[in-house]
Structures are given as C-alpha cells and as structure tokens.
Amino acid sequence: MVTNEVYKKEYDVIIVGGGATGAGTARDCALRGLNVLLVERNDYSTGATGRNHGLMHSGARYAVTDGESASECISENMILRRIARHCVEETDGLFITLPEDDLDYQRTFVEACQRAGIRADVIDPDEARRIEPAVNPALIGAVRVPDAAIDPFRLTVANLLDARMHGAETLNYHEVEGVIVNQNRVEGLKLLNKLNGEHVEVRGRVIVNAAGIWGQRIAQMAGVNISMFPARGALLIFGHRVNNMVINRCRKPANADILVPDDTVCVIGTTSDRIPIETVDDMRVTREEVDVLLKEGVKIAPSLATTRIIRAYAGVRPLVASDNDPSGRSISRGIVCLDHAQRDGLEGFITITGGKMMTYRLMGEIATNAVCAKLGNTAPCVTASRPLPGSEEDGPRESDATKRYSFGERAAIGRHGSLAARIEKDNDIDNALVCECEGVTVGEIKYAVHQLHVHNLVNLRRRTRVGMGTCQGKLCSCRAASLMGEFRHDVKGAQEDLAAFLDERWKGMRPVAWGDTLREAQLTAAIYEGLCGLDMAVNIEGKEDVQ
C-alpha cells in the first residue's frame, strides 16, 4: 500500500505513464542513480503498449517507407533478444506475396531491408509452405526476416521491477489532475489516488511526459501544446495458434496484413483509422472492423475462416502529427523527444512520444539522456546490455521443457523467466491450477498479488494470463477472485471485482460473439448470473479500466 512517505519524497524525475516507454524510462533513470517516481492513471500497460500485435518487428515492415524506423527496429530487436529473453519468442517472420500482389515489390522490399541492415532471405514458396504450413498455399513469393513475438505486459512489468529494485517508486491508479508550474518551471504534479479518492501532490526536478496519446492532455495541463495524431487499429484474437511464424503481406502496409503467434493464441491486425483526439478512450471494436480483419486475414492464413475468434480489441497509435495523410501509415514512426525548455521556454518538462512499443528502450534512453543533461548526471546508459529481471543469462528457459517441470511451472517460466523461482510450489495447493487454459497456479497468483502491484483481477490477468484463454475467465475468475478475497480479507470487494472482470471479458467477446464464442459466453452468463445470481452490470470506480 502507498504510504505518505512516497508522496513526500523529493524526486529527481517523475515519469507520467506506465506503458513500455514510461517503464523503460523509469528503469534507465533508476539505473543511472536518479531518484525516480512513475505514475500511471490506470494499470500498467493499458494504453497502446497493451493494445497492439505483440509483434517484435524486424523493421522489415518499415524498410521501404521509413528507413530510419527500420534501422531502429532491427537494432532494438537484437537488443531485446538478449535483455528481454523471457518476453520474446524467436519465431522469425515471412513476408509473402500473393497472386493479387505485385511480385516486383519483393525486390524493392529486399533491397530496402538490406539498406536498413535487416537480414531478408528470399525463399521458395515451397519452402515457405513447409516451414509455415498455415500460410496461404497460393503464395508466389516469400522472404524470411527476423521478426519475433513479444509480450508487452511482461516487458513492462520487467522494466518496472528493475526500476523498483534500483530505488524507483511506481504508482498505478494515480491520475494526473494538474501540473504544478512555478513561473517558467514545472515543479510537480497534482494526483488523484483512484483507489481511495485522495488528492495528493508530488514534487520532482524534472517531469517526463510519457503518456502516449494522452500526453497531449498532460502537456496542456503544463500550458504547452503538442498535436497528437491518433490512429486507431483494431485486432482479432483467435483461440489457438494456427501459425508458428509471424506472417506479413509483402506489399505497401495496408489493413490486416500481419498475423502474429502470441503465446497460446494468434492475432490478426490491424486496421488503421484516423480518429478525433476526444474519442481515444473509446476502444469499442465495430462490425466493419471485424469484417475487414477477417476478409484480409484469411488471405494470409485460410484456416482463419474457420478458427474460433475469442476476442477483438483496439488500440491507438500515439503518433505526432506531421502531415495530412489520413491513413497514418506514411507518418514516421520515428521517436520524438521534446525538451519544452527549448521549445516552449518551460523548464523541467520533457515529452517523449512517437516511436513504437518495440523501440521503448531507445525512447527511454533518449528521454533519460535529456533528463540527465538537465540534472548534470553523467552516468552512461546500460539498458542495452543489462538483462531485465527474469532474463538473466543463466536462468531457466521455457524451452527447457523437461520432466523437471510440471505444466504449470513450465508456463510460469515462460511468463516470468528466472523470477518464476519466487513462485511457491511446495505443496499441492500452491501447484493447483487456477486458470487451466493458461496454466496459472495458485502459487503464481500469490506471487503476482504480493509482488507485482495487483489491485484487481484485470491487473492479475495482465501479470499472469489468468482469464486470457479460450473460456475468457469462466472457470478461473471465481477461483482467482476467491484467492484475492482471501489475501485482502474482503469478500464483498472480491465479488464486485469478479463481476467487473467478467464484464470486461464480455466487452472483448461481444464484437465476435457468434458460434462457439457465443456458446462460451452464454454458459458463463448462465453460471454467474443465472446460477450464482451475480450482478454483472456493476461499474466500480477506480477498478474500471479505460474503455
């Protein structure tokens, strides 16, 4: 729990935003010896960080249109394989050319990749069908690139853990209500603690605005103006993996042209639509978006036409507007770091934005460099070489699937890397599965609740994958709620939390609620509403996530 000590401390730097960028900046600052506070208005990784493909770009996708981003991607891609091993699955990726695509584009693509330093091997379509049987068999060309899958929730948590191990304080459910400006200097923030409704103030020498698309509001509160360019993308999650490699279309970036295998599922996306900044909190997925994703998705992997869809979701890319392209795709994904002292004459305020989830570390480095320049700190950046907690060189690997590990232990190693050693497993209770779809044990829940800032079931899901499987929480949520109620001695709170969690799960199922997913949802409703009399229509202040 938050003590007043945390609010009273004098910080060198306060970071606004608990996405990958904020977490990466907090880690870098802490490793360089700064006194760090990070504040996040919801849970960690609830913005664009937790609402993308989970794709660790090789950079190939940007090679033709944006060489600079492509180079950044491949460089960060190689770094993340080393420092974030437990968050990354080294799947490799294919760029396929279909009969309707122009095969000449392949040459342009491969040359651009080579210029950006991305390995791109043209392979025979037969070879492509062999190494990735899910691929559309009609393909006429294929290029193999070092794409991979990455889990952004784990990545963010690992960065926060390391920041905390180096003295940083991190607060979720603390929303910025105002920026304290004294003459031309930012001195602190006014915060609302959404867990208890308390209004507090925190003081720091430098404030870093890493709030993604919401950074425009934070800047406004400080009296400066940034024009963000919100581009919304919707995605579909399928119930199981059909592919084991990332599959992209080898053409100019367009709708639904990437299929990524993420843990036990696969994800097709995205659409891209310009939206007004006022609507960035509306994450509902429309029927039209689902139709486009399906129509294009089956061209990549025909089996998607008959594979069960368990969820739909959307995210907003935090791009900084630079021209009038309505698709948002030709805008540079380039990183933008604004020192508002130079730009607007406002001291002690830095905005880090643009970029991509997978260049979060570089963004953190750039922002930290700017902070250090202001504070006269000369410590070098070590985040490119120092493994994140969980990814130490000698730690256990998920692929070490030997008899030594039970199913649940193995899944936990996949999620937490070497930190899985902290999970209790000495008795039958701790080893009992709470979430059977995703292999989450009682021990893992205990670990997450006690050590990973979990306030509710939605938080727990992001830390462990509870409720992310085929049943979307039907079996695990009541078990998890019961454990949470026990740990916190609050049965009523646990009940409300359970209702809110199931409601949140249903929101993602609703746009794709047909067939087996609808049967699944109906059974869930029959059990909880019908049999147990749970009122699922509750909305709990402070527990509700954005959307």
């Binding site: 199981h240 008959t306 199913f407 779809c437 499987g469």
Partner: protein, 419 residues
C-alpha cells in the same frame, strides 16, 4: 462478412468446440482417484493449445489416461477429448522406445501364438510365485494380477476342424472377427457365437486373414505396428463386406470400437465405407429379433441372477441396450443393470505395476456395486473387464453371447427359424 467465413469453427478433433464446462473431468475415472492426472479437459483441449505453441509442453501425465472415452460420451460439444490425448501421446513419441513389457503386453496375438503351443505349461508358470516375482520385478507387470489362461487349441483351429464345412449350408451368412481373446484364451465364446448364429439360420465365416485389432498396440504406443495391422484388417473386412455382402460380427466391445472408430481417428485408416457393417453380435441379433426375422427360444428350466456391466467402449458406442435387452428376453434370467462405472483395467493398463493400485481404486465402486447386487455371475461385452471383475470380485464373468447360447433351446430355435 463473406458468407463462407466463420460459419462453423473447425479444428482437429473439435478441440476448439470445448466451452470448458468441465463435465468431462467430473466423469473421468482417473481424475477421480488421483491428483497426478489433470483430467481430460486439461490434458486434452487445454493442453493442446500449449502443445501447438511448443510440442515440448507434452505432459507425461497423459500416460495415465485409460482411453476409456467416458469424457467423449459426456461432452456436450462433441469434442474428441480422448482422441486429442491419444494423438498427443503419439506425437510425443510415446512408444518409440517401448519397453519389453509394453511390447509383450501389446502383442496379444504373438504372445497368444506362443502360449497356445505351451498352454498347460504357460498357464501353470504364469500362476507361479517365482514367475510372478520375476515379472513384477524385472518387467514391472504387477504380481497381484491374475493372467488370463491360455487355451490349448486356438479358436481358428477348432473352427477349421469342426465348424467351417457346415457353414455354407445355412441360408444366411455373416463374417466373424473373433479377436485375440477368443482365439488364444477363450475359444468357447467363439463356439457359442457359432452355435447361436447357426440356430438362427446364419452360417458363420472367418475373414480370409485376421490380425489383432491393435487396441493394445495403440495403448502402448506401438503405432506403426498398429497401422500395419489395421491395414490388413481393413482390407479383409472390405473383402467380406463389399465382396460377399457379409456383416462382420464381433464379440468384444473394444475390438469393435477400435475397428470402427479408432482406425480413422488414431491410425489414419479410413474404414468409413465398411463402418456400418462392423458390429457386435448382440446388436445384430437384437435387430433380427426386433424385426422378427429370427426367433430365439430359451430353455424353460434356465434360472440365474446376473448383473450386467457396461464396458467403457460399449458405452462410447451406446450399444449396451442391445446386450441388455437380449439378455432380458431369457425368461429365467434375473438381470441387474449396474451403474456405469469403469472397472479400472483398461486393457493392459492395469497389468502394469505402476498402475495396479490406481486400477483397483478406479474399479472399487463397481466391485462394491457387484457385491451388493448378490448375483451368481456378471455379464459384460469386454474381455479385459471380465479378467478384472473375476479377479477383484471372485465371481465368474460371461459374455452375453455365451449366456444366450447357454440358455438357448437349440433344437426349438432351429425349428422356429426353419433350419
């Protein structure tokens, strides 16, 4: 949305149709007695998602599955749960390095051929304490287990010598897939079937060639050999069905289920063209009686109280009613229908030392029910259930066909059917 998309969700063995209701786990006989086995839902559709991610997620606990198929009977969504588990075992290479024990237990026909030759010696030897000790300690076949006795003469030999010649004289004809148990251990059951069918006016013929159906090979992971034998059987069944238009009768529920459903599901041997012509004798006979094509007349002085046990694969086929209703036609038979519980043996499973305790724990409910039923014998359509129940309750166990043949007034029946 394009009208051809998302009409139905298809996945191998319907694993995606699982709505995680967990009914399967509540009926799993293994999950009921041990926490070492995660239950069919977790071992099947749940685990499959992880195995698709990385085959290394295969869990050794899947070897505890009996393949009894009770999960599939219970599933309201039509998920082939046990097939998913069998396939996972196969993909994980279980059986590639099968032990001498597993190979021996699985090769019921090879073992039978050898044992027939030395039957009197084999039967005595297998019952001796030193043999049991050696098997227990050196081969991990549990010493508490009673081995089925071997017959001195194979059923096939008896049939050729004493029955084959007369079969063409009957107006109607069927084929008979006798299986290893009838051939090597208990020819009387085959003889009973011939007696029964002949009395009803049906000549019985063997297939040109018959191999062990392979149910034990699948259970012990010897898939390659199982596939070879399946090919031989499928070819010979096709000759009988498509060539001679014979129905292929069986007297073992597990052989039947294997021939009809496991061949395509596990061994990639498509038998769909002849599937409907392979059936248990009781189903065939019941239908003939029901359609008034034949008449069965039973002895007036036959008086017995017998309990009927539904074998797991019998339940999977849903055919227990045929056996039960036929037995009920015997006027002097007082039939007790037992609750449907697994006996725990599951073919060769219960013979293994590591499974013995679990096997007996699974069967405990059934044994108690049998004891409470106060019957003089038990009837079931599965031979391995027979061994398990005989060993565990001390009561004799008979196939319904044998009971029907014993109770039959052969002369009156022949006459009624115009033979």
């Amino acid at each position: 949305m394009s009208d051809r998309m998302q009409i139905s969700n298809l996945s191998e063995n319907n694993f995606e149709q699982c709505t995680k209701c967990s009914i399967c786990t509540t009926v799993c006989p293994v999950a009921a007695v041990t926490t070492d086995y995660p239950g069919p839902k977790q071992a099947g559709p749940d685990g499959e998602r992880y195995r698709l991610k990385d085959p290394a997620y295969y869990d050794k606990a899947l070897k505890l599955c009996l393949n009894c198929k009770r999960c599939e009977v219970a599933c309201p969504s039509g998920v082939h749960i046990a097939d998913i588990i069998q396939k996972a075992r196969m993909d994980a290479g279980e059986g590639k390095r099968a032990s001498l024990r597993d190979t021996m237990l699985a090769n019921t026909d090879l073992l039978g051929t050898v044992a027939n030759i030395v039957a009197p010696v084999a039967n005595v030897t297998l019952g001796l304490k030193p043999t049991k000790w050696a098997m227990h300690n050196m081969m991990a076949i549990d010493k508490r287990r009673t081995f089925p006795a071997y017959s001195r003469t194979k059923f096939e030999t008896w049939f050729k010598r004493h029955a084959a010649d007369q079969q063409n004289a009957y107006p109607n004809h069927v084929s008979y897939f006798h299986g290893c148990y009838v051939n090597y251990n208990f020819p009387k059951l085959g003889q009973d079937l011939v007696k029964l069918m002949n009395a009803a006016g049906y000549g019985v013929h063997l297939l040109n060639k018959e191999r062990c159906c392979g149910v034990a090979l699948i259970a012990n992971g010897l898939y390659k050999q199982a596939k070879r034998q399946a090919r031989v059987n499928a070819t010979n069944i096709r000759q009988a069905v498509n060539g001679k238009h014979y129905t292929v009768l069986t007297t073992s529920s597990s052989c039947t289920f294997n021939l009809r459903d496991e061949y395509p599901a596990i061994l990639d041997e498509d038998t769909s063209d002849v599937r409907d012509s392979i059936m248990l004798a009781t189903r065939f006979i019941y239908k003939l009686v029901d359609e008034e094509k034949i008449k069965l007349i039973f002895k007036q002085d036959y008086k017995r109280r017998i309990a009927y046990h539904t074998a797991c694969h019998m339940q999977r086929m849903g055919w227990q009613l045929y056996s039960i209703e036929l037995l009920r036609m015997i006027p002097g038979l007082d039939l007790v229908e037992l609750e449907q519980n697994c006996c725990g043996i599951s073919g060769t499973y219960g013979f293994k030392k590591e499974n013995y305790e679990r096997s007996q724990a699974i069967g405990a409910t059934l044994f108690k029910d049998i004891e409470d039923a106060r019957v003089e014998a038990v009837s079931t359509d599965c031979e391995t259930c027979k061994w398990q129940i005989e060993m565990s309750t001390g009561l004799p166990v008979e196939n319904p066909v044998s009971i029907l043949a014993d109770a039959l007034d052969v002369e009156a029946t022949r006459k009624a059917n115009g033979v």
